[in-house]
Symmetry: C2
Subunit: 376 residues, 2 copies
Amino acid sequence: MEITDIDGVLCNGVKEGKLGLGLARFSGNVAGVFTGNRIKAAPVIVCRENISKGYAKGLIVNSGNANAFTGEQGLKDAREMCRIAANLFGCREDEVAVASTGVIGRKLDVEWIRKKAADVYSGLGNSKEHAERFANAIRTTDRFIKKAYSESAKISAVAKGAGMISPNLATMLCFVFTSARFESGELYEILRKAVKPLNRLTVDGDTSTNDTVLLIATGRDKIDRDIFEAELEKVFYSIARQIAKDGEGATKVFEVVVRGAESEKSAELAAKAVANSLLVKTAIFGCDPNWGRIVAAVGYSGAEVDEKISIAFENDEKTVFLVDRGKITGKEEEAREIMKGDFRIIVDLHRGKCTDYAVGCDLGYEYVRINAEYTT
Amino acid sequence: MEITDIDGVLCNGVKEGKLGLGLARFSGNVAGVFTGNRIKAAPVIVCRENISKGYAKGLIVNSGNANAFTGEQGLKDAREMCRIAANLFGCREDEVAVASTGVIGRKLDVEWIRKKAADVYSGLGNSKEHAERFANAIRTTDRFIKKAYSESAKISAVAKGAGMISPNLATMLCFVFTSARFESGELYEILRKAVKPLNRLTVDGDTSTNDTVLLIATGRDKIDRDIFEAELEKVFYSIARQIAKDGEGATKVFEVVVRGAESEKSAELAAKAVANSLLVKTAIFGCDPNWGRIVAAVGYSGAEVDEKISIAFENDEKTVFLVDRGKITGKEEEAREIMKGDFRIIVDLHRGKCTDYAVGCDLGYEYVRINAEYTT
């Protein structure tokens, strides 16, 4: 199920070398969450302004230039992108959502965008090919397109982003379309909650200036909120795993599940610390069941923890305990087998009832190669 | 100037394969700072207890086994190490400082330590060779011994630790000897302040369970406190740079200096975020003056920041601005030249008067190789 299968959505896109442009036409309520970086790209600032009224009539996205760290000129250019789309869509400039991804610190080539926008607009449609062209237009270093859907909740999402941060600071863009009907305030509440898997996707800790997640609801169908929320979270979870899978040089995806924490916060801190640990990531790359590194990461995470923890590696077939309530089991060889594919690291703190998780990918030579040899 | 040149200090050490044992005999006031990891190794717990009275009569250190994550048995073993040393030194068990470094989660071979301690004790002395044997005994993956001194303040320090965390979680042990005379409370205040360079040494964010820094003052000489404090900080700064230099796979050391911050905290956060950024570390490895990654790191650091920042690369010969109050200068080629050796990244936030710094090293293929191929 493609984004174009959502009732009321038309789209199209074009890619020429490193530059891309995508347009989506719709009319509906919109909610968004954006980067937490203090240095925010111009399109992030403009998009947040434009969708603050709770609805939009279209979306314009470019790739190849992030329009970040571009000052007043950048804001003008981001607004000009909205104006270009508004003229084509026949709506107001402030009714357009906007996003950018690519190199930072360079002036946007607005004329290229203006020229291409006319072509892209004239080819808008709702076929599978249209959805693909849009998805392709927003790619940068992505090895594959990320998409996920829920038929029952009439949700379809498309995203770009690499599990480890890409040379251009790994902007994560995720556009979720649904024909469900929700008030804009409700839509924002739903998004804030359901977006959790993307916040549990730990990369290398570097946060882009351009990260943007939009939830666009065309309002054609009545869908139960609880069902919708649960399905939306599943969609984001799938996107998060796909982004991790596409990590630069990543050979496998792993998940850290923390159980038995005293507080939600402890569970979150511990899960993120383990998934972010360079030592854990490199050990996973080398299939080395070095649980000591996991203990250390939990220890410095800020979570309440003592030595009575349990650590297990798990895949869909079995669970191997390396540490059982502080006792070392010596099952390294069994654990090593599990590490050959995607797997889960289970950490039980045995101190309470709270649980949380994080999704990560391993770190190998390719990551260094890609990031050391990239030239500004 | 070796640690054995400090009036009142005798030492000796032995290394057999991966196992090492060092003893130091003295009588003086002691202050210590230890790992912030919630999972603390047994020797850290025992050492903190023993030096809490403000003085000690000797030090016993082993390498090859961290005696961490070893529960009640670990505490017993750490106390047994103190007892072994106390019997030799003719003092009380709780008058001995203790430290360990090495693999975690394995029971300590106390018998090996007992046997070697007698030999090491009988060979105690104050020659250069004795200092070298002690330094060598505490090494694990270190490619070289770290030491620094101040003649004027009568300080000599020896340390072990690799700039990026070593397979054994990069325990940093640093023993500073001085013949200066300070009350134990004063000694602790001095240490807390002067140890800053070691806290500004950013590695890969992974904190060991065993980190221990001891300041041992034999009290033979009267030295002005201000001078002593300044000299001690220089000693720690030198040790920090040596540890960074010995980073696993590191080819160069860099320093991030943040100026013009609104608060001390902002300056610290920004400096550490840049020095810790994987993207910055890999860019430095590849001599890529990708200042966008620095902007992004400052942006997510939590520091107050806007686009009007300046970024320059600097060595002892020149300073090259890449961004000047938000304006991009285009001097990437000049910056690339500077990146070929050790250099400083200057970030001026132009918002206030606070300043801070961090010391780091680059990250290359060797880091991945060492950490992926290490086997527990």
